[in-house]
């Protein structure tokens, strides 16, 4: 268990370094920040002075070294646009994004897992067909389109929910629904197919041959085995939601990290982009690590390194 955890941890750290490398270089091929930050009328001397001040004229490796030593302590410099520390700006956006992603995942799991279980235990039933229909819709509707339709109906026509911002509890409902829907679909399908698969396993036949009550068999023998793939998908999806809700946050003007990404990329605000990218990667890697640990707790084959 300890060795398993340490090797996963080592992998994460390596990955994180790779992310830093990518973030640093990729941002620098998109354009010259100096020409963007300074007005068009500025003299070439002023632009040059700005470059010098920001250190953009130093050799790229020196810049990278500076970037790394700052990144280790969470210092990504000041935002070019807002002049305040970039990491601090990211941190201010974290609660909103966590609230959105958490609500979305909760909605997806609370609806998706029971639907998948019902479908898996009663394939072909009315509830199964409903669940599969919802899953198909959830996974195939483009969510930027769905977001606009929802705003049109529930915000503009009916006025039940606000169309943007994060001022009241109702604000989170529509963006979380849109963000969680594809995951809900995936959870339904995965749960359903895993239940069906596990129910057909030889060891379930063995459990029946022991004369166990169906409920015991479902809970003890089927569900624990279903939890294994489910845990990993939920972990991956949550990471994806935390980092990937850029256009949903933008459409609903949700003041989270996704919106910050959209804005900082538009301004070519290097320190800010780097800080967000680094932070999101860190969160995703931590989530993966957590998923791996949960995995090992459920599955002894992983725990004992087989």
């Amino acid at each position: 268990m300890q060795r398993y955890f340490l090797s996963k941890l080592g992998q994460s750290i390596l990955l994180l370094f790779g992310v830093l490398l990518l973030v640093f270089f990729m941002v620098r091929v998109t354009g010259d920040p100096a020409s963007l930050m300074i007005s068009r009328e500025a003299s070439p001397e002023a632009v040059e002075a700005f470059r010098e001040k920001m250190g953009f004229n130093d050799p790229i490796l020196t810049q990278f070294g500076r970037f790394l030593s700052g990144a280790v302590v969470g210092d990504f410099g000041n935002s070019l646009h807002f002049k305040s520390p970039a990491m601090q700006m990211v941190m201010e956006r974290v609660p909103a994004t966590v609230q959105l992603a958490g609500t979305a995942l909760l909605m997806a799991a609370v609806v998706g897992i029971p639907l998948g279980l019902i479908g898996g235990f009663n394939p072909g039933s009315a509830m199964d067909n409903l669940g599969r229909g919802l899953a198909l819709l959830g996974q195939s509707i483009p969510n930027f389109w769905l977001a606009l339709i929802l705003i049109l109906i529930f915000a503009v026509r009916l006025g039940w929910f606000p169309s943007f911002g994060r001022d009241e509890w109702k604000s989170v409902v529509m963006p979380a629904f849109v963000l969680g829907l594809p995951t809900m679909g995936q959870i339904v399908r995965l749960t359903r197919s895993t239940v069906l698969e596990i129910r057909g396993e030889d060891f379930i036949r063995t459990a029946h041959s022991k004369g166990l009550e169906p409920r015991t068999i479902y809970v003890k023998h089927v569900l624990r085995n279903v939890a294994i793939p489910l845990v990993s998908v939920i972990g991956v999806q949550f990471g994806y939601m935390l980092g990937g809700s850029i256009y949903i946050e933008t459409i609903f003007s949700w003041p989270g990290m996704g919106q910050l990404v959209e804005q900082s990329v538009g301004w070519r605000d290097f320190p800010l982009v780097q800080a967000v990218a680094f932070f999101v990667s860190l969160v995703v890697l931590l989530l993966n690590l957590l998923t791996d640990v949960a995995y090992a707790i459920i599955d002894p084959r992983i725990r004992y390194g087989k």
């Binding site: 060891f203 041959s209 022991k210 004369g211 166990l212 009550e213 084959r301 004992y304 087989k306």
Partner: protein, 251 residues
């Protein structure tokens, strides 16, 4: 029988050993848990009592160091050991019957012999009847008292084991025994096989299911399905042809 009654019989009065021990145990539950859950289900035992009895069962089926093995998972066991665990589950509640469905097919030969021995020992010790389903006529000769030969989903012949091997009364049994390779023969020759293929059971039978493949089939075999007919002491065969007389059976 209602599903509830059936569940009492399963595991309680009838134990079951399946063919493939690699997939017949739940990979994420301990061996001990998988044996003792039968005990708590049928014998009204507390967890502690069940554990104590499970340790005894593990020793009984020849698993060394039961205390340590109790906490192990199936992936830490070899195929033969897993089959021993399956047997422990089957005999846990001292059932009257154990049904073993090709319990040695998935094992290699040396382990097969150990498992057959274990079954024989447990049968003597616990006085449990074993129904052994198999294709392996060698194992049958070593383990069985009475043999029921099935063909096309119907009983073809029932006999005490020695009687069956000495004077098979059904052409199918004869064919099976003829297909066995012999250790004594020195010349190389092709093994005898039964020509043709088994009937399609989706089409309702109107005659003897073996008639298509039978060297002895005559008119009557194509007209009706033969019932089991007494052909000797505790010996019945579902065949209209009398092997010993060399012609149709009387009546």
């Amino acid at each position: 029988m209602s599903p509830e009654e059936l569940r009492d019989v399963r595991g309680g009065q009838i134990g079951f050993v399946f063919q493939d021990p690699m997939s017949s145990l739940n990979p994420i539950l301990t061996i001990g848990e998988q044996i003792s859950e039968t005990l708590t289900r049928h014998l009204d035992m507390s967890k502690e009592q069940a554990k104590e009895r499970t340790l005894k069962l593990l020793a009984q089926v020849g698993i060394p160091d039961p205390k340590l093995r109790y906490k192990n998972y199936p992936f830490e066991f070899s195929g033969g050991m897993r089959q021993r665990v399956m047997i422990a589950i089957a005999i846990a509640c001292t059932p009257e019957i154990v049904i073993a469905d090709e319990p040695t097919t998935a094992l290699d030969v040396t382990v097969q012999a150990q498992i057959v021995d274990l079954f024989r020992r447990l049968r003597e010790m616990l006085g449990v009847a074993v129904i052994w389903i198999t294709h392996d006529l060698g194992v049958v000769a070593g383990v069985a008292e009475r043999v029921l030969v099935m063909y096309g989903g119907r009983p073809a012949e029932i006999a005490l084991v020695d009687d069956l091997y000495e004077r098979p009364q059904h052409p199918y049994t004869l064919g099976l025994l003829g297909a066995l390779p012999s250790l004594e023969s020195t010349e190389s020759k092709r093994l005898v096989s039964i020509r043709g293929t088994p009937p399609d059971l989706l089409i309702p039978l109107k005659n003897c299911p073996f008639a298509w493949r039978c060297d002895y089939a005559f008119d009557r075999c194509w007209e009706e399905i033969p019932p089991l007919i007494a052909v000797g002491v505790r010996h019945q065969a579902a065949c209209f042809y009398d092997m010993e007389k060399g012609g149709p059976r009387d009546g």
